[in-house]
Symmetry: C2
Subunit: 336 residues, 2 copies
């Protein structure tokens, strides 16, 4: 075993430890999801079950559960909404895979690769709609407002991302705005919604949303970074997948002003074609590594995590808040 693989194992272990205080609730989320599928159409159960059991780290449900416990929430809504945010996240993954025509996610064939676009579009729709009806059973209108607003932002972010695909000249501000919508708003909603469980914690909605948004941004920055630093076996998908899909992420945006005219023209061809004919993968990786942009992105992700941790300072102290602090750190240092 290489040291990198050992590190990766250790981090999975650490994540489990961070989520330790709510491991029983995480299991309850799994049971909740399994029960949902038992009651659903067999094909929904098959496809959605496949996607939802594909080794996701359940970060969003864990945030719902940790924050619910931190706020002293009683009852079973934490589990329900843990499942709901995972449903929404999975629906977006499923539709995203159709979009990208990607073949691999987390090292397994994507659902659309296996069942075709026909079924997977519909299973995504089912997950979105079912997540709404799960909110409705309890009549949680404010939580629905939060979640539909986040879902709209997510969808708009994906549409914006599609517009700038195959383009190298992406402004950093626009990239951050897209990332916030695509990833950070659902993190924000997951973190904020437990504050709506009881009147006494309503005033914490905004600070918790801010925490989630910062955490989500940090998460995505590291995700973009891993596309340049991880290997296929660890990431579960090929490295440089973003470039292959014509997506310029922050490392590329920061690299651009450091390139000469020729390098820039050849990198432009990579992004606009999604192939490495004009510039080899090795050359791209070499440029990214030696230019220092990876350090720069990691610095920004670290600052973002620091900001997230800072947001927690006004929230109830205790093992759950400690766990959230550690989770923020782990997200930055993760290699998976």
């Amino acid at each position: 075993m290489t040291s990198a693989v050992i590190r990766s194992f250790r981090q999975a272990q650490q994540l489990r430890e961070v989520f330790g205080p709510i491991s029983d609730r995480l299991e309850a989320v799994e049971r909740f999801i399994a029960k949902e599928f038992e009651a659903a159409q067999p094909l929904v159960a098959e496809v959605a079950g496949y996607v939802l059991s594909s080794g996701g780290k359940r970060i969003r449900p864990a945030l719902v559960l940790l924050i619910s416990r931190m706020l002293g929430a009683k009852g079973e809504r934490d589990v329900r909404y843990g499942a709901v945010v995972e449903f929404i996240h999975s629906a977006s993954l499923i539709h995203d895979d159709i979009i990208d025509e990607s073949d691999l996610r987390r090292g397994k064939p994507t659902a659309n690769h296996r069942w075709g676009n026909q079924v997977t579009v519909l299973v995504g729709d089912w997950l979105y709609t079912r997540s709404m009806s799960l909110c409705l059973e309890f009549g949680d209108v404010e939580i629905m407002r939060l979640l539909t607003a986040a879902t709209l932002q997510m969808t708009e972010g994906e549409i914006m991302a599609d517009r700038v695909r195959w383009r190298l000249d992406l402004a950093e501000d626009l990239y951050i705005d897209i990332t916030r919508r695509k990833t950070a708003e659902l993190f924000a909603a997951a973190c904020a919604l437990p504050a709506l469980f009881q009147p006494a914690t309503l005033h914490l909605t905004e600070p918790l949303a801010d925490f989630g948004r910062d955490l989500g941004l940090c998460f995505q920055l590291v995700d973009d970074l891993l596309d340049f630093t991880a290997t296929q076996s660890r990431l579960g998908k090929p490295v440089l997948a973003d470039l292959r899909e014509g997506r310029a992420t922050l490392p590329i945006i920061l690299l651009l002003p450091r390139l000469d005219r020729d390098q820039r023209a050849r990198l432009d061809q990579v992004v606009s074609s999604g192939s490495f004919d004009a510039m080899s993968e090795e050359e791209v990786l070499e440029l990214v590594r030696t230019s220092g942009v990876l350090d720069e992105v990691r610095r920004r992700a670290t600052a973002q995590a620091e900001l997230a941790r800072h947001r927690l300072s006004g929230l109830p102290a205790g093992p759950e808040r400690d766990a959230l602090m550690r989770a923020a750190t782990l997200l930055v240092t993760r290699e998976m």
Copy 2:
């Protein structure tokens, strides 16, 4: 002009007359939709605007508006929910087109043909999610329950339809169940939701849902029929499109027991391949026409419309109820 085209024009005119009592409200729905798009992402506005301005007959909004007026509903919720049901319907059309890989709808290139699967999946998601947030602005939880339940049924119906694609041996019961889910449940929700606008009409929710369900079934039976009787210019898509997509509808299901072994085997090849190599289009049309199954389907659609009209008998009499009665008749006799 052929007499068929004249008939088609006359029917469009009749439909406008039937919707006459609420023509001002229908225009308000159009304005509501236009305003939604003004506030949305430009690409959402472009794609969704394209789909929503593709000559849909606005039957579902018209039902919401007519029934709202019949029940004496005040305010602007009729217009809002008219737009919402059209959003949901359009989202399902958009995702349906991705599914079918069809190139034409209502005589125009489909959105996915023009913008690609990437954008159209997302615009469908946007319409679904936006329709939910439009309900949330007024906090109409019961209406959301109705609409999410209908959307879930619709999605499940589409998934079931996908499962039986390319198969000739489809039981009639299953076909009806799929049709009810795919089409009739959204009609039912559109008709029932105005009863939820005021406490005094709550007891009419069920009868109105029953009316809408019968009307929707009738609508779909005629739609299936038109695939065999209409020509491309009138229908806006090629005839026999269902067979081309491997979908056996009621005319085919009823035809089956009337075929000999050889015809059956060749028709099986048509459905399982979506091509007319084993049996020509002309032969299929000839068999369908001479066997009397088209008359049989039209008889059933007429009976369904009769049932729908019967459901109206307990509802407030007046010009709106008369219009609903005429709408049911028009749906059966329509040739577009």
